[in-house]
């Protein structure tokens, strides 16, 4: 593996996944330092523009973490997130960006270990895909 360090922007919902990430911390679980978490109140707050902006501004991957279906603190926000992300993945592929670079994970407040697993797994996966080439061909 080259010394490529993937940059992954993560949007974690305040109630489940952000809390789970805190739990991973208090439990001193170790995972790849490539994930940078941005806290939102609900995965339903994640605007597709954020994801595209992240890719355009240098992210190699984007991770969205929300409560499991049925567990959303705001009842149904995560269902919107699910539909948006699935559509976005299709569009990304047409933009020539592998859909693996955008990932949606349901991680409940008690699943600190899942945060660790997902962070490591995604970092490894993105590392395999290599750096995201921006769409700025010239000439």
């Amino acid at each position: 593996m080259s010394d490529f360090e993937p940059k992954i922007v993560a949007f974690f919902c305040n109630w489940c996944t952000y809390t789970a990430a805190d739990l991973a911390g208090t439990s001193r679980m170790k995972y790849a330092p490539n994930i940078r978490v941005i806290r939102v109140m609900c995965s339903g707050r994640v605007d597709p523009q954020f994801v595209l902006e992240a890719f355009a501004k240098g992210a190699d991957g984007v991770l969205i973490g929300g409560c499991h279906p049925g567990d959303c603190h705001y009842q149904r926000g995560n269902y919107k997130a699910r539909r948006r992300i699935l559509m976005l993945q299709r569009v990304l592929e047409e933009f020539g960006i592998e859909k693996e670079r955008l990932r949606l994970e349901w991680i409940s407040a008690s699943e600190g270990d899942k945060v660790r697993k997902v962070a490591n797994d995604m970092t490894e996966q993105i590392a395999r895909l290599g750096p995201l080439r921006r769409g700025d061909e010239h000439g």
Binding site: K30, I38, G44, Y74, A109, E111
Partner: protein, 659 residues
Amino acid sequence: MSEEIRVGVYVCHCGSNIAGIIDVKSVAEEASKYPNVVVSREYKYMCSDPGQALIQEDIKQHNLNRIVVASCSPLLHEHTFRNATEKGGVNPFLFQMVNLREHDSWVHEDKEKATKKAIALVRAAVRRVALHSALERKEVPINPDVLIVGGGIAGIHAALTLANAGKLVYLVEKEPTIGGHMAKFDKTFPTLDCAACILTPKMTQVRAHPNIRLWSYSEVAGVDGFVGNFRVKVKRKPRYVDEEACIGCLACIEACIYKEGKFPDEFNMGLSKRKPIYFPFPQAVPQLAVIDPETCIEFKTGKCKKTCVAACDRNAIDFTQKETIEEISVGTIILATGFKAFDASRMPEYGYGTLSNVYTALEIERLVNSSGPTAGEVVLKNGQHPKSVGIIHCVGSRDEKTNKWCSRVCCMYSLKLAHLLREHTGAEIYNFYIDMRAPGKGYEEFYDRLLQEDGTHFIRGRVAEVTDWAMTEEEEGRLVIRVEDTLAGFVRRIPCDMVVLSVGLEPTPDAQDVRRMFNISCSTEGFFLERHPKLAPVNTFTDGIFLAGTCQGPKDIPDTVAQAGAAAAEALALIDRGSIELEPNTAYVVEDKCSGCHTCIALCPYNAISYDEEKKVAQINEALCKGCGTCVAACPSSAIVQRLFEDAEILEEIEGVLL
């Protein structure tokens, strides 16, 4: 924004928790180079008084108008630092927190990379905070009434504490009587005082208390609203006996056409029989008879003589009773829904349900109890007294295949039962344990005492099986416990007449439904999740909902009562404050951008969005808005803004972290 932005950045060492991994000095140095940053410091403990004072002095000296603190999780200390910022004379929302501990130093080992990440996170916060605008704190009043779910010792104790403090308490219990598991116990460890003697007085207090509305045989059917203003639906199951009229004289039960009890008695773990109309147990609260429609002839055939009706001179019996739904409003909720004992038949190797004379600990509690099915006489199925009894610890605990956790009470109650069984029968008692765990006041001493009692033996080893397969004369017709004695270092076969399975504690089967209904979380094993294992053990992630007793995890009676008290105190603290502050992270519509496309309206789970026919734009009722931001993300013309989470702020954060 015309004013000049002046940011102060504070990087916390948190002792070595952060500084041990992250080079805080260089983080602070880097931050000092960013636009708008006027001061950038690192300090040992930002949450300490001097730490907070530091912020306030800087605000005065450098007239800062934005604050960034890079320390631990905002879920832990955001409040602290917002207050510090406000004390310094800056609006508390012109503040941004960076989570360097939980999300960086505690989870990464590579110092260089961890530091780089820290710098990126701080950069993001600095960029973001520049766009923050001053916000009003949002307060909502707290309804002083309290709902307590579950009438075991936890619910009872919490209810009495609150009621004595003059609060109105609704105590909802699913069974016909309160008392829970504790009411079934004979004695309690380590003091061996009788459970009924200490519990029943509290039960009667509940019944008599003017501030307690006791709804037994009832279940919560629905919850909405939020801290301070919950609206709760309670389903009241019909007991077919008029609560007002019945005085608990038992005449109806006497008169039932079943002369003898015929159906397994729940309270005695099925070891005795009851009639279709019955009294859960003599000290039951409320003192009301209840009819079980599953077994009552009138319900099954409609052709019963109804001798019970005739016997009741207060006409309390009413076969026409229907389930009713009561609606109440409360400000706070305490969940005390208790535990379920592990189902021993899940471990067939121990023969529960297939071999006679294999009992669970709860059954033994009833057997040794003088008001139990045998009036306290411990007899085998063949009527004889056991000469030897084996007590198997950790059944359904500390086991990969069933439950991984230690149930915390089994060691001690096994000792208690060992003592009681020895006392009642004089039998040889064998304890089979993995480790003896006696961490509690007087517990180790109690263990010591049992070690001294002759006829009580301790064998360290996990039992492989209980079988009636005899290899020797001595074993014939008895139960054989096969175990590797890990102290003696060989496999032993120990014949016993009676085997007691010390079953562990599990979440109740409906824990997941309850969790969803109250919008709280469960830990992986299924017990309700507390907000913080050390600092907020009775709080949940949902404000205004608290936990008491074993629904949060296995615990003994002293701990349960202590926690119930704590939950009551937390509720009181909220109630007496009179109001609670909410995050001002609500959304609003920018009217001159809204085209009235109606996309957002159906998205709101709280119906906070409506369409203004006059102005032809959407409107958000901020009293109803909970600040999820779903509509903001959905608005196709970016006409909805969420305070504290504005698009521009998040976009800055994105650029910031991408260092």
